[in-house]
Amino acid sequence: MTGSAKKYYAAAVLAVWLIIVAFFMILNRTLDLEVFFVLSLIGLLVVAVLIDGAFSRPRYMRYIGYLIAAGVALFAYIVAEKILEIIAA
């Protein structure tokens, strides 16, 4: 698999994962952005680990790193908010 093809396969797999998550959320009659975001982040992390090469680091991997950093920061925000909610309750 060449580098550029790998990139597009990864994007397609991630898109399929998001569609599956949305499908099951609708099946469960609940659309919660928080849950959707967390599951998307998990998907992104798995895809990033799978496509990360051992000896070379393509440019898109550097960008995905920034995306993961932003996602983790948002995830930290959600967790902090949940903790505050629990403390307030």
């Binding site: 009659r29 609940t30 659309l31 952005l33 928080e34 000896f55 950093a69 920061a73 925000y77 902090a80």
Partner: protein, 536 residues
Amino acid sequence: MNHRASRAVLMAAAVLVLALLGAQAADPVLYTAENTSTAAHTDPATVQKRSPGDANALVPLMDELLGQTGTLTLTIKLKDYESAERDLARYSELSRQFDRLVVTLDVSGTDIGEFQQNNRQNQESLAALLNDTRRFEDLQRLEIEVRGNDEQHMAVVYEGEALRQKMREGFSAYAKREAAATRIAEHYDLNATPYRESVDHFAEITDAADDWWKETGGRSAPKSPLRIAVTPDEGRYGDTLLIAGTHDGGRPGDPVEIYIDSRLTATVALDDGGSYRYPYRIGRVPAGSHIVYATAGAVYSSVVTFEILSGNTSTTLALAEVNETTVACTGNLTTDDGRPVTLAPVHLRIDDDTLTTAETDKNGTYRKEIALPAGEHTLQAEFHGAGYPLNASESPVGTIIVRGEGLSPLPFAVALAALFGTGWYLRRRQYRREESLVVERPEEEVEVAEETAEQAPQVSIVGLPPREAATVLFCTLRARLGIPETKTPRDCARIAPDHAGFFGRYELIRYAGETPSEEELRAMEEEVLGGDKNAA
């Protein structure tokens, strides 16, 4: 150009999606089956839960409720109190089931709703009848025991009279509901016979109480020196009735106890003329007939009755925002003639669901601060009138939009810290990787090597394991040739065919797991150093 345009469209779409999601960030639950507010978005699955099975269960349940009234009154009439308790518990359980069904099927606005209301009142009446009948039987026994002791006898007889009147009122209210119950029963093809029988049983029980009163109370009521009168003999909520009388032979200052419905209500003193008076303000007492008598030591007055008429009320509701999350609900509860209803419970219904209670003050005004989640809410104040001679009323529905608390800065701070932390970690990791790949050499020499890529680089593989040494040599050669770090050995062989042999060998070492020999390493080192043996 085309490429650029497609990128711009993609960026715009991404920004739009992020903006749309960001708008929902404060309330991330976009949809659940339970929180649909409009009919158009109602989840069909939840509607199906109100299955036809529920509707089919409604009519048999009504039939059973009617049947239960007949059984219960019969067991009360037969004084089988244990069975009556069981029947009443069963009746209460059925009523609860029925109430739930009425709410589930949302039929409270129909004649089934009327049936539900009547049924609730019937349940209260029959529970009261069971208690009163028991107490009445106790009094009958007590009356026989205390014959000869005038004071105690009168107390028992008067309490019996209060109880008798209460049962008589209960019966008249119960019988009044017969017509409505029969009408609804015919409409749904129910068997109303048990209910009619229950009215007959109820009548028999109250007649038995009347007979006892005629035998005991009527006979044992000699003309008393303690007289009593109530003027006027009827009134509404807030009116004042004057309970007054005289005591022949009483001394000024002697206490006179006034009992309303057999409960001590006030103690007043006789004045110089031997008379007493007590202004009785009608407050929290149910509408209907009430009895009053007075005692002065061992002397009992006769029993007189007065009537309390029911009146209508009006409830108002004003909503005001206290802060981002709290709403102040204020309003007045007044009777039709403008009198404030004091210390009465006012229920606040929030979004047709939750009920919270406030209490009116001496001016009939209530105030309650309620914390609500962000969004639009409907509120309504209700006065149920239980225990008051007043009819229920409710305020118009008020709507208020609660802004909700702004986002707390703390999670933002945490997120920012996490962002910085992640950035720092990524930079550090990248720096370490570069450091591990670059051969240890003095900074000055590195600069020189960068400036003159063709100059022989410095490399030391002394003490390194053979495979790691090969990696160091590969990285050094790649750097010397100016090939980007992202290139694999095969790419490098394609870019620099002169060194194809070196890269081919390294590929085998790296990927095929082969271990290079000392000679091979030396040869590779020579190639890295550009054939200058003395450079190493």
